[in-house]
Assembly symmetry: C2
Homo-oligomer: 274 residues x 2
């Protein structure tokens, strides 16, 4: 999927919602634990209920790896199930990988060949060597951490050069020379909405993947106000707020309803540009 196709999908669905599949055996409804593959059963129900309202899914790798081999099976089945629905949807592996050379090439193979993801989140610390193997795949994306939503993001991301330029700004400036808006997007936390104006000056056209709305306290309207561009340029992620909306029999229905409410709010915000 390229930039134009992603924007078309957003226009068609009137949504720039990404549902984070942070699926945790300790948090999914207890009755699902009787299923042969509880994580997959949970994800399948969540996807079925939310797909009309979302343009992207973002499984968080940690939650699957923590279950070992079984977790990887659940993840692979989830990706295959979503692809089997034959509906365009953007799949992000939230892996925050960051390695180099042939190791990085192996990670690219994992997410773009072994599994059919569209995009992978990557840490910029080791520089271009981390990203370049991922950029070899046409219509696949690297999602580089820029300014994250967590409290200790400031430990190093705000490290400041003589000119006042901060590390996350340097990451944006340097990396945007590596690939255009069809291959590269950035993670910017919703809790840092006030920084979006400055970020848009550096990367006016790239998509931003924005976590932190909902449970972490970020505001959707603030994010849209400061971060939206004329091709939307935003994928706003919600994980816990949607997938754990209910822990009872109606968990999927409740998740669908939460996703629908966000989609309605997003349709309003999209009115400003399309």
């Amino acid at each position: 999927m390229n930039h134009e196709q992603l924007f078309n999908l957003i226009k068609k669905k009137q949504s720039f919602l990404c549902v984070g599949l942070d699926s945790d055996l300790n948090k999914i409804p207890a009755f699902l634990l009787n299923e042969e593959d509880p994580l997959f059963a949970f994800n399948k129900a969540i996807v079925d209920a939310t797909l009309p309202f979302t343009v992207a899914y973002k499984p968080n790798l940690a939650f699957y790896e923590a279950a070992g081999v079984k977790g990887w099976q659940s993840l692979q089945k989830t990706v295959e199930y979503i692809r089997s629905l034959n509906q365009p949807v953007f799949l992000i592996a939230d892996a925050k990988r960051g390695d180099i050379g042939n190791t990085s090439a192996m990670y690219a193979k994992t997410f773009f060949e072994t599994m059919d993801f569209d995009a992978v989140t990557l840490s910029p610390y080791m520089g271009l060597d981390t990203v370049s193997p991922f950029l070899q795949y046409p219509d696949k994306w690297s999602v580089l951490l820029a300014l994250t939503s967590n409290q200790s993001a400031t430990d190093f991301q705000y490290f400041e050069e003589r000119t006042g330029k901060k590390l996350f700004e340097q990451v944006l400036e340097t990396s945007k020379t590596w690939a255009d808006k069809n291959r590269l997007m950035y993670v910017v936390g919703a809790t840092k909405a006030e920084a979006l104006t400055g970020i848009r000056k550096i990367v006016p056209e790239h998509f931003l993947l924005v976590p932190g709305v909902g449970a972490q306290g970020g505001s959707l309207s603030e994010v849209a106000r400061y971060g939206m561009n004329r091709q939307c340029g935003l994928l706003v992620n919600s994980s816990r707020g949607i997938i754990y909306a209910s822990k009872d029999n109606d968990f999927a229905e409740a998740a669908g309803e939460k996703a629908r409410m966000m989609q309605l709010e997003m349709a309003e915000l999209l009115n400003n540009i399309v």
Copy 2:
């Protein structure tokens, strides 16, 4: 394993060698592909041949993930096999993970509970939140990327503050307040041996995990000269130079011989301190 136990192991084996298990289906001897689990068969033979000469193993997660569920099975079996030998050895998951909060906690669970690793490599970009869940485990270690061995390490790790302090130095200064030498070590590439003097001024006591000797061109004697402290303070990793020493029937024997040669060189270098 704590700092003292690791140093005792180094003294006993007269080695500070870490063997990197970057085990790649495309590079292991072709006849192993007939085995039920080729990656595990390869690793088992390499471990059997090298264990007398090494104090640590470092499987590189990317190589296992690229094989999907089967790769994770190979990895888990490798860890279980090494532990079944009942010999003290330090196991590092070279995962370069970097996430936060409950996600980071899930990664810690993966490597310290689901699998019995001693240590995990972590990227510092997101700050303390990335590391703190790993620090909750007694006698387990976080290995933070500081100055890496790759060419584009300079893209951001050399980003420089007003005072001339570089990002990697800030990472060392800040993170050493998070945990002492029993819980934290740092990745410093052997190709950056000249930087070790400065690094030792900031973290005189912490262990450094040093990749890049051999295939990447770093020199063992240079690393020891600038990086060794009175408790050794070094784990020097070699991957391809050992595990792919031969691609024929004698691959394990050749790997053992390469490891033995490095151990002999290390014993010489350890003479300076013990």
